[in-house]
């Protein structure tokens, strides 16, 4: 009985000790998957980087303006940009994520047909811009206007939802590093989005990943681009501050 009590008392200590050491989902992957991500000629995400580069330089809209026409060379102009998103959007007076910003720029400045969330073109452009920050630490902006949405994201992260009545925190904080069936539960740091997921057989955004978890607990997912998703993205970015951007990552 005493031993059982001691184990019960120790268990939360072990878990909190594990949670203190933050690490990317990369560390939890099989060696083969890690090798796939690290080799740019084997990482399928690099196909979308190439696609995004072509789109970056391709004129669109009635003025025939390309992204490069205003921003110039992405390697210089977009370095570090993805690391600080989501950011505050002056025009919409709300937080906006990187894919949202690219879609907005395309619609309002290029006046080109809008790009839908999770469309190949928007994913390719977001991957290309994200790739320019690879190796830089995630550095969320200190803009005080983001604080309210970040807190909302934190609340959503801790809120139980769905028929399984589970919150994000119950798996990714309390059980991180342990197993859900055959898969290791990662700490849920969004270091490599958009990323190539072997299960999807394609590249996808963080919102698609969040949607997957929500349907997994049998909750009704939010719609793509909704303020709730951006709020969760904001909170996750602050939670992962300092970890390296890996875009395009590979995940099982």
């Amino acid at each position: 009985m005493r031993r059982a009590l001691a184990l019960v008392l120790l268990a939360p200590l072990c878990l909190s000790a594990g949670a203190e050491e933050r690490r990317s989902g990369f560390a939890d992957m099989a060696r083969e998957t890690q090798a796939m991500q690290q080799d740019d000629t084997a990482n399928p995400g690099m196909l979308w980087v190439l696609e995004g580069e072509a789109l970056w330089n391709r004129p669109a809209g009635p003025a025939g303006q390309s992204c490069a026409g205003c921003h110039g060379d992405a390697a210089a102009a977009m370095r570090g940009v993805a690391a600080r998103y989501p950011a505050w959007d002056e025009a919409g007076a709300a937080p906006i994520d990187l894919a949202g910003r690219i879609a907005q720029c395309r619609e309002t400045r290029q006046r080109a047909p809008p790009l839908a969330r999770e469309s190949e073109d928007l994913l390719a452009l977001t991957t290309y811009v994200g790739h320019q920050s690879r190796g830089l630490p995630i550095s969320p902006p200190s803009d005080p206007r983001l604080a309210a949405a970040r807190e909302r994201g934190q609340a959503l992260y801790a809120e139980r939802r769905g028929q399984l009545d589970l919150s994000c925190a119950q798996c990714h904080d309390d059980q991180a590093g342990r197993r859900l069936a055959g898969s290791t539960i990662p700490q849920a740091h969004p270091t490599g989005y958009p990323l190539y997921r072997l299960e999807w057989q394609t590249i996808g955004s963080l919102q698609r990943r969040l949607r997957g978890c929500m349907t997994g607990v049998r909750a009704e997912p939010f719609s793509y681009g909704s303020p709730e998703y951006v709020a969760i993205e904001l909170f996750l970015a602050s939670r992962a501050a300092g970890l390296e951007v890996e875009t395009p990552a590979v995940r099982p």
């Binding site: 000629t41 084997a42 399928p44 196909l47 190439l50």
Partner: protein, 107 residues
């Protein structure tokens, strides 16, 4: 045109065994999956890959619906002469893509 990632050394020594690695963007739709409307999506896969080095076919592969999207294919060759390496992917719906890279053999 599908995007490709190729890892091919430009310059090699005579007799050297060279690893060629290829990755091509392709959905590899199996023909067994239902779409959003419940109808089975028609098959759309790459059927055959061939590699020709200096005019001779040195490697070929038949691909099946069980192969993942964006197929990664790797093979080795013995570099004997300076010449073009022609990689060709052929598939359903008239998919046909050719990439050519020069391999330079220098002592």
């Amino acid at each position: 045109m599908a995007r490709v990632l190729l890892n091919i050394p430009r310059s090699v020594r005579p007799g050297e065994v060279v690893a060629i690695r290829t990755l091509i963007q392709h959905g590899m739709e199996t023909g067994y999956r239902p779409g959003a409307d419940g109808e089975v999506l028609p098959r759309d896969i790459i059927r055959r890959f061939t590699a020709t080095y200096d005019g001779a076919e040195i490697f070929a592969a038949e691909l099946s619906p069980a192969i993942a999207a964006n197929p990664f294919l790797s093979f080795t060759l013995v570099a004997t002469v300076t010449g073009p390496l022609v990689l060709r992917w052929q598939g359903d719906n008239g998919f046909d893509q050719t990439e050519t890279r020069e391999i330079t053999v220098a002592a």
